[in-house]
Amino acid sequence: MSQRPQIKDHWQEQRLTTGRIIACCIMALMLTGLVVTQLIKLQVSGYEYYSAQSQGNRIRVKPVPPPRGLIYDRNGNILAENLPTWQLVITAEQLDDVGDTVERLSEKGLVAAEDIEKTIQLVQSRRRFEPVTIRQQLSDTDVARFAVVQPYFPGVEIRAGLARNYPNGNIASHALGYMGAMNTEDKERLDAAAYAGTSYIGKIALERSYEEELHGRPGHNDTLVNAHGRVIQILQSEMSVPGKDLTLTIDLPAQQAAEKALEGNRGAVVAMDPNNGEVLVFASGPAFDPNSFTGGISTTEYRALQNDNNQPLFNRGLRGRYPPGSTIKPILGLAALRHNTVTPGHKMFCRGYYSLPGKTHRYRDWKPEGHGMIDLREAVSQSCDTYFYELAVDLGIDNIEAALRDFGLGEVTGIDIGGESKGLVPGKAWKKANFRKPGDQVWFPGETVITGIGQGYLLATPLQLAEATAILASRGQRFQPILVKSIHDPISNETTEQPHIQKDNLEGIDPRLWDTAIDSMAAVIYGERGTARAVGKGAPYRIAGKSGTAQVFSVPQDEEYDEEEIAERMRDHALFIAFAPIENPKIAVAVVVENGRSGSSVAGPIARRVIDAYLAESANTQASTGVVE
């Protein structure tokens, strides 16, 4: 089988191995000596010390999870709190068979049948001696039911605890997020000591991005126990450090108005204070009830949410990408004024369609008979498409791209919750990078034409549209949107205001050009032929706005709809942007209603209700708190 380089000398080899075995023996004795030395150190010289530790103080260290920080709206209304609840807790070490125990709990109706596997996994993923909460918020009936059978369930107990509660239910759920059970990935990310005794963490939105502030630090209860392990006395215990409270920039009444107005629709409403970037309203519809996650959402319930065709878990305000349609016309108008491709008084003739020079293809206006002779102000207020087709071609795609980027489109806004979409601002470089065939990599003039009315490749999120509106309202001041106004430390009683983060402002634009752009938006509401005259009716302040109606080209293929639904989902999206009061803007709002058909008559009224709710209320608070301040 093998070549032998030399004759095998068995006798010599045995001596060699025996020598090595003796070496192993010596090594073993030395290592044993090491352990025995340590044992003598502990049991002989350290006896008194350790004896005192175990005898005098039979201290049991139990982690005390910190109460999570509260979340308020800007007026001090509570948005997220902690309620005392009964929780079902399992300590794996104290029972024989986790699987069997959970199955028997399920027979008693204390764990849902479809959650058995998930629960077993949760328990097994934690350290064996650590109690794991498998259900929060037991009902009184559940508590009574378990009390009867408790003797048969060693290692399972009911504990008093705190559970997250969102008193307003659905309201602002996409901004707040929800709490969920820690998974393996979370555990790797987080410091085990900081989460001793905690089973739930913030999963999305603010609950996740401010997890560190909200969570606090656990304390530990050192309890004196007797020989049977009963707690006799709580010794000096280190208090847990409660999490910090957040005061949001959200205005609850306006938020409620927005969600009520959105009800029954898919869409989003985002409103900002143009003077500092504070987000006043962040609504995405349909919303979900974060409370159903707190109790440990059942698999059925979660699947129902996930499979809902209306996608209630999808954060449309943050991640929904929509063609902005005519809402970008004021921005493009301003850009054309800056580049002198139009002047405020410049008029053109609209005959109901536009054709590129030398081409026959007609780009149609929404008004087939045309708007006749029309200037920029009228083109915005009547939303004349032909005017903007020509304006876009004169301006050129490079300038359009730059202008849209100036207003924050195509970039994340930097809001303090994660997962934001960038939207899309197309241009020559983008086409080159994103198309395969060389023939498609060129930017076509026709694509410039439709970009002029916010169609084509252009996509923006409702949050981006709100930011763009705020930039228009503040005449070029750019702020990063923020949802948290201040953070309050309940221990030191210190409140830290979150800084307003200013981005690079739009400089060097003649104030008269801003006047023209804003005036054209005012004409949308107040002009003789403004598209959204109804929106301004009876308002005690002046509103500037712009409607948009965006065509839908395709329905996502991966979802199943019946014909009626397809027809419904092919309808145009309705958009509206607005700010008020014009003279001293306090709120800028963007509304998107999926398949809402008409920007001015569907999305517009929603914007108005949000503005009303916010301004009416801020007028009230100013009146009432004026004396105090």
């Binding site: 093998s2 032998r4 380089p5 030399q6 004759i7 095998k8 000398d9 080899e13 045995q14 060699l16 191995t17 025996t18 020598g19 090595r20 075995i21 070496a23 192993c24 023996c25 073993a28 004795l29 290592l31 044993t32 090491l34 352990v35 025995v36 340590q38 044992l39 003598i40 502990l42 049991q43 002989v44 350290g46 006896y47 010390y49 350790y50 004896s51 530790q53 175990s54 005898q55 039979r58 049991r60 260290v61 982690p63 070490e93 104290q94 024989d96 097994q124 993923s125 350290r127 064996r128 001696f129 393996t184 085990a192 000591a193 001793a196 656990p218 530990h220 126990v225 020989a227 392990g229």
Partner: protein
């Protein structure tokens, strides 16, 4: 008596001796194993909180492990040598399967479900030394450089696969089993010293590039357990209190407050040594350590007197590995080395490691009792 060759006198053992010989059982090793297992059961009864159901399940596991010992002892070393490369190959295939399809238990893929759930890495603990001993069997020792290179590849392949599961503790133990064989085969001192130097150089690399944060924390906790009383330090603090408070004579069976009052985590598995230290004191611990050393000594004696290279190397490696498990567990529980999940051999509750250990003892017994049947 451990070193006395009791073979010629075997006839005088009477009927029991005859039965044991026919069953290929080494009476001395059996007696020592039984003594440790008995001590283990006494301690487990206390550590489990006098749980009869628990003891019943544990005794079934012991019975299963014993039948494995008995079965393995019947296989002659020559036959073992012939099948060892095949078992090693099969073990490698199973390790690949675990990486592809393995069940996730406790965050790592270690288990393979084929009717019964088992860890292929356990097979490797015996299959690797057997395959290495097979390889070195009919070569001349000390091994040539090329042969050493081959053995190192054979060691690193399963070690790396187990480390990927990820199960660093078992990977290190498997690697060490292989290293023991090379050492016993008599490689030159300069190889040994350069290997030690290489490991010393690799440690900082491991620290910065390979080890997870939780593993680093365990090491750091060793030096200052008080710093992390809710995390990894808790084990060490509680275990030191348990052992130290046991003193010389111990608190008595069932009277250890640390263990009984559930201060001590994992007291029936990895930290059971602390229960022994608390309830039986330094004396009890010393008796246990002596029993362990006696088992190791018997194993080394079997190795030294074995008749062929395969048996010598395999028996030596199994014995030293057994000692190493004892050392790692006791050193970890007394706070000498970081917390790694190695159970106390023959005593900690659980079936997997018990079966592997008993299979190893079966090999030792086979080597000892088949000696006369081999041609001199």
């Amino acid at each position: 008596m451990i070193f006395a060759d009791d073979q010629p006198a075997a006839n005088e053992h009477g009927r029991i001796g005859y039965v044991l010989r026919r069953l290929h059982i080494d009476p001395l090793l059996l007696a020592l194993i039984l003594a440790v297992l008995a001590l283990g059961c006494i301690v487990l009864y206390s550590a489990s909180g006098m749980d009869n159901g628990f003891m019943y399940r544990q005794s079934i596991k012991i019975a299963v492990a014993f039948s494995v010992l008995l079965a393995v002892a019947q296989i002659s070393p020559a036959w073992m040598r012939r099948v060892s490369p095949w078992i090693f190959g099969a073990g490698l295939v199973l390790l690949v399967l675990v990486l592809i399809t393995g069940d996730v238990g406790g965050g790592a893929q270690r288990w393979l479900d084929v009717g019964v759930r088992f860890q292929p890495s356990e097979i490797m603990k015996l299959a690797l030394p057997a395959a290495l001993a097979w390889l070195l069997h009919d070569r001349s020792l000390p091994p040539s450089l090329a042969l050493i290179a081959t053995t190192i590849i054979m060691i690193l392949t399963p070690t790396a696969m187990v480390a990927l599961q990820p199960d660093l503790g078992t990977a290190i133990l498997i690697g060490l089993t292989g290293a023991t064989i090379i050492f016993l085969a008599g490689i030159g001192k300069r190889y040994i010293f350069s290997a030690i130097a290489l490991i010393a150089a690799a440690l900082p690399v491991m620290w910065y590039f390979v080890m997870h944060d939780y593993q680093k924390r365990r090491v750091l906790t060793l030096f200052d357990p008080e710093k992390d009383p809710l995390g990894a330090g808790y084990h060490i603090i509680q275990s030191k209190i348990a052992i130290g408070s046991g003193g010389i004579f111990g608190k008595g069976w069932l009277n250890g407050s640390q263990g009984q009052l559930e201060f001590l985590p994992e007291r029936s598995t990895d930290f059971i040594f602390a229960v022994i230290g608390e309830e039986f004191g330094l004396l009890g611990v010393a008796v246990l350590m002596l029993l362990y050393l006696a088992i190791v000594a018997r194993g080394f004696y079997i190795a030294a007197t074995a008749q062929d290279t395969f048996s010598r190397l395999l028996a030596g490696s199994i014995s030293f590995t057994f000692f190493f498990y004892v050392f790692v567990n006791t050193a970890m529980v007394t706070g000498l080395i970081p917390v790694v999940g190695v159970p106390l051999p023959l005593i900690s509750a659980g079936g997997t490691s018990l079966v592997t250990l008993m299979a190893g003892f079966g090999i030792l017994m086979s080597i000892q009792t088949h000696r006369r049947l081999l041609p001199r």
